[in-house]
């Protein structure tokens, strides 16, 4: 019971975090057809900026400032890099963002070194929120969850209740028509790109303190975000939410399962054979936690190639 409840909590919070990063990616893809490879790099930049700034300003101001700064970086990338290669096609744009993500990672290594930095939760936030089944549950996790939820609520309200939101939603599917109705769509693109980057930056600033802040964090999360997007269906915000939560939960539950395929074979009386085979058969699910989302993605690809909520091809 304890395991289920705690895993549910952890998984949901991790899923929400994934969503914070994938939301921007999905929106940008829907609008511009650009799969921004550097999106997860913004997550990393957010973490490092917050780490640097919190030493000078304290935790909360650093959180805000780093989010804003990452948003500015996003806007610059869109304006001065992406827009210029637009004429060469989407593959080219993808490659360019790929190169930018590479440069960002190398710059981080150059400035902060090729190892994790000591970015920690501030003392004032490092307490337990409640005890559950005798174990204390860190308040910071809840904080991360609530920031993600607040973000989600904010995006949702922004998109559904404001005129800007309407323009963004229409431009996702029909950018040309939106522009023909007098809306400065290139500007909207830049805004969404920047906001998406800022969101990823905020996620990084918040999560970096809890998990680790190292030069590989962009790649690790980036790949997971891609899995989210493939599973959810590219361009679908709802799909991204669903897939994020699913993958968050799957990851968090699989960490605690100490069983292997051999145990499954035991049901058919084939344990001895399975153990003889070894390798994958005797590997515990818990040690495969990092792998399972990928397997999940392959299954989705088999049964629903366009993703859970993606449009049918």
């Amino acid at each position: 019971m304890e395991y289920y409840v705690v895993s549910l909590l952890n998984g949901t919070i991790y899923g929400l975090l994934l969503f914070m990063v994938s939301a921007g990616l999905t929106l940008i893809f829907g609008m511009m057809g650009v799969l921004n490879f550097a999106h997860a790099s913004f997550y990393m930049v957010g973490a490092y900026l917050a780490y640097t700034l919190q030493k000078l300003l304290g935790f909360w101001p650093a959180l805000v400032l780093s989010t804003l700064l990452v948003g500015v970086i996003g806007a610059l990338v869109e304006r001065y890099f992406l827009r210029r290669v637009h004429k060469f096609g989407h593959a080219h744009e993808l490659l360019l963002t790929f190169g930018i993500s590479f440069i960002i990672a190398e710059l981080i290594k150059l400035i902060y070194g090729n190892f994790p930095v000591d970015y920690r939760i501030p003392k004032s936030l490092d307490f337990s929120a409640f005890t559950i089944f005798g174990a204390s549950y860190p308040a910071y996790r809840l904080l991360m969850g609530s920031i993600a939820l607040a973000m989600f609520a904010l995006i949702y309200l922004l998109l559904t209740r404001t005129r800007v939101g309407i323009v963004v939603r229409s431009a996702i599917y029909k950018p040309k028509m939106a522009e023909a109705l007098g809306h400065n769509v290139p500007m909207v693109f830049m805004g969404v790109f920047s906001a998406g980057a800022a969101l990823a930056g905020l996620a990084g600033a918040v999560a970096g303190a809890f998990y680790t802040t190292n030069p590989n964090m962009a790649l690790e999360l980036g790949i997971m975000v891609f899995v989210v997007v493939v599973v959810g269906g590219l361009g679908s915000l709802e799909g991204a939410m669903l897939a994020s939560l699913l993958i968050g939960l799957i990851t968090s539950y699989s960490v605690g399962i100490d069983r292997s395929l051999a145990d499954l074979c035991a049901l058919f009386g084939a344990r001895a054979w399975a153990e003889g085979v070894g390798g994958l058969m005797t590997l515990k699910i818990s040690s495969l936690a990092a792998t399972i989302p990928f397997a999940f993605m392959l299954i989705i690809l088999l049964v629903r190639p366009s993703g859970l909520l993606g449009e049918k091809e």
Binding site: V167, R169, M177, L181, H183
Partner: protein
């Protein structure tokens, strides 16, 4: 071609446009005066829709000039063209299927050029009571005719000086076709100039003050509707009637 007007509202001169390698517009010239309804007629592939798109900035012209009220709009981005006072009703209708009727209308709102808004939400709903009933439905769930009305309303809310309408009756039931024809006439009476691309000759002749026939990317005839209606040869050669 005779100069009909001293100061046309829209003036298109020697307009050329390409899609990739194919030369679609080969020197289109026409103008629209204040309070006129000009129909562009012609067969499929003659460049009518492309002309509208080029005026709207959706297709970049390779050469030529587009002027609205003397202000040069050649090669301008679509939002600039719209803000200058041209609204566009595309052939594919392009309603935002994921938005509600209300949200679709709000997408079209633009401040009027002379300060006072000629078209309001209420007026639209008065015009098409059907839309009011369905204002919170997703536009994707509307019928073809309703979508067409929505598109027209959406563009009117931008308070345009000039309205470009591409094939408004396409794929609509005959009854609705008649309604759309009446709406166009009504809009015209309220002082909006119109460029209409229409396949159904009868409607085009009925609502327009001037007609232009296009063929192979050029204007091959310009004149009054009845001049065209009586010219069997023209009709046969360029309109396949």
């Amino acid at each position: 071609m005779c100069m009909r007007l001293e100061n046309p509202l829209l003036n298109v001169q020697d307009l050329h446009a390409h899609y990739g390698k194919s030369h679609i517009l080969r020197g289109v010239e026409f103008h629209v005066g204040k309070g006129e309804v000009v129909s562009l007629l012609g067969r499929n592939g003659s460049g009518r829709s492309t002309t509208l798109k080029a005026v709207m900035g959706l297709v970049p012209p390779t050469s030529g000039h587009i002027k609205l009220d003397g202000c040069d709009l050649t090669g301008a981005r679509p939002y600039t063209v719209c803000r200058a006072g041209i609204a566009y009703v595309p052939e594919e209708r392009e309603v935002f299927t994921n938005l509600t009727v209300d949200e679709n209308l709000r997408m079209g709102e633009q401040p009027a050029h002379d300060g006072e808004s000629k078209w309001t939400f209420d007026q639209m709903f008065e015009y098409f009571p059907r839309l009011k009933e369905r204002r919170n439905t997703r536009a994707g769930n509307l019928s073809g005719g309703e979508q067409q009305m929505l598109t027209i309303c959406r563009s009117l809310l931008g308070n345009p000086k000039l309205l470009l309408i591409d094939e408004p009756t396409e794929g609509l039931a005959p009854k609705v076709v008649t309604v759309v024809g009446e709406v166009i006439q009504d809009i015209h009476q309220r002082g909006v100039s119109i460029v209409l691309v229409e396949q159904k000759l009868a409607i085009a002749l009925k609502v327009s003050t001037h007609v232009c026939v296009m063929g192979h990317g050029q204007i091959v005839f310009e004149g009054k509707p009845d001049e065209l209606g009586n010219n069997q040869e023209l009709l046969k050669e360029w309109l396949a009637v």
